[in-house]
């Protein structure tokens, strides 16, 4: 099983997104790339970073990165590892997680609000990826 936020994992995740018709529909006008950050906590020593470029209903590029300053993504979505685990197994709704501050989002918030359904599907897609947790 690919490790969470490894290159291989992100490729699998992109495949899940690109096979999802519902996502394609909900995000058909979306343009914007994301930097995902898993912040360390008791269970995770070093932060993990992933990059994903989402464009018109598809994931057109994505990879793991070690130095976040190398990318200049339009959006940054970050949270503690313990909260990411809850997000990945469906215990935290991504939008609710942003409202409570368990996740933080940088970028054009109003735009994300309008694509809330797409955001939800993106999280659902993660569940289709076999994942080895760090």
């Amino acid at each position: 099983m690919p490790k969470l936020f490894s290159d291989e994992w992100i490729k699998e995740y992109m495949k899940a997104i690109n096979e999802n018709k519902e996502y394609e529909e909900a995000a058909k006008d979306w343009e914007g790339d994301f930097l995902f950050v898993i912040e360390p906590d008791e269970e995770l020593k070093e932060p993990l970073y992933g990059y994903l470029d989402l464009y018109h209903g598809k994931a057109r590029e994505g990879y793991a990165i070690d130095d976040p300053s190398k990318v200049n993504a339009a959006f940054e979505f970050r949270g503690k590892y313990s909260n990411w685990k809850k997000l990945l197994n469906g215990e935290i709704d991504p939008i609710k997680g942003l409202v409570t501050g368990q996740f933080k989002l940088k970028g054009n918030m109003a735009k994300v609000m309008r694509y809330a359904k797409a955001a939800k599907i993106l999280v659902d897609c993660v569940k289709k990826v076999p994942t080895e947790l760090p």
Partner: protein, 380 residues
């Protein structure tokens, strides 16, 4: 983790008297010209003991960003320690936005539930008191502000916990003489808030009993209130605030997404627009395993055998208070068909869509609008 956020609430006869003991020095009153002329501001000033009072009475229905900016300018000049909103949803929304923008320079569009305004330097220089003069929007308790950006022809759905008022004064003296048509439409808005709050996937232990109580009260009193019965109007006034507390902490769904879209495109008052879609969306929810449970549960708690019983009662009530139950009573077919694509797109982009127990895709939204236009049954 979740929150329940609410203002302090003063309600019942003489609730306005509570203003006597507040001790603010500089109070900015936000209202509209009609209410000002009708003497509503004077009624409040009878109780308010503030050294300095400034009145901004330029709020229009469907308030614009420009109006909000004017109110902000007045606030920046006047430096209030308290802002009091006297009015319906539009007035309260402008007052909420003014309190934030008066203090910090932030693009209004960025005032979303996801930002911590304290990081932008917001310190709540002014307390906010809301005095609703209609019984429906619940805006006196909520975190949302609907402001229209006229230049971009777009509604800004601003929302943030810091926008929740500090105190709501729910005094029915302002609604006993409300015109019946406004009683009807605002009452339907309250009913939609209560029902959508109850069935929302974000509903919780705190919001559920409030939503149920509000739905019960509205169903029992909306027709009598429409007829002008004073006791019923008082009950509706409190129920609208209770529904506001419920949905503000659990969100609304497809009924509001469609209502926002339809209301914006055809300039239909909010309560009429949301009420119109209520029976159709409930039927849509009943047709799926993912959403039927909560609708059925609510219907039974309200004393109906099943969801269909609730829908039939809602339609009866709408007839009796002279509200349209088909969109074709409001607009013609050509207008409808020409704007159907926009209606669907706006509903899909509405932030209420994602907090629905069943989320329609584009084709389903299209069919829902068609059912509501022609008065067809929802069979999908």
């Amino acid at each position: 983790m979740w929150w329940f956020v609410a203002p302090k609430i003063v309600f019942g006869d003489d609730a306005l008297e509570s203003l006597e003991d507040l001790g603010y020095k500089r109070v900015l009153i936000v209202t509209d010209e009609i209410l000002h002329t009708l003497g509503y501001v004077d009624e409040v000033l009878k109780y308010l003991k503030a050294e300095n009072v400034e009145i901004f009475d330029q709020v229009e229905p469907e308030p614009s960003l420009e109006t909000t900016k004017k109110a902000v300018e007045v606030a920046r000049e006047f430096q209030p320690d308290c802002i009091i909103a006297i009015g319906g949803g539009s007035v309260m929304d402008v007052a909420k936005a003014t309190r934030i923008l008066y203090e910090i320079d932030i693009d209004p569009e960025q005032v979303t539930p996801f930002v911590n305004l304290r990081e932008f330097g917001y310190q709540k220089k002014a307390e906010l008191i809301t005095i609703p003069t209609t019984s429906g929007t619940g805006s006196e308790t909520t975190w949302a502000m609907v402001i229209t950006d006229v230049k971009r022809r777009q509604k800004l759905l601003m929302a943030n916990r810091e926008a929740v008022p500090d105190m709501a004064v729910v005094d029915a003296r302002f609604v006993v003489r409300m015109p019946p048509s406004i009683t009807a439409s605002s009452g339907m808005d309250a009913l939609c808030h209560a029902i959508e709050a109850y069935i929302s996937p974000w509903g919780n232990e705190f919001t559920e009993p409030l939503a149920l109580k509000a739905a019960e009260t509205v169903l029992a009193n909306i027709a009598k209130s429409f007829e002008g019965e004073e006791e019923a109007r008082k009950k509706m006034h409190v129920a609208a605030t209770i529904a506001g507390l419920a949905f503000s902490n659990s969100q609304v769904g497809v009924i509001h997404a469609m209502g926002h879209s339809f209301g914006a495109v055809f300039k239909i008052p909010h309560g009429i627009a949301v009420g119109l879609f209520l029976p159709y969306v409930l039927e849509y929810y009943l047709n799926s395993d993912e959403s039927i449970g909560k609708v059925r549960e609510l219907s039974r708690k309200l004393g109906f055998d099943d969801g269909r019983g609730l829908i039939a009662e809602v339609v009866n009530l709408m007839d009796s208070i002279k509200l349209p139950t088909k969109a074709m009573e409001l607009i013609n077919e050509k207008e409808f068909q020409e704007n159907l694509d926009i209606l669907v797109r706006h509903a899909m982009e509405d932030s209420s869509t994602v907090t629905s127990p069943r989320i329609p895709d584009e084709a389903e939204y299209r069919k829902l609008f068609e059912c509501a236009f022609y008065g067809r049954r929802v069979d999908f």
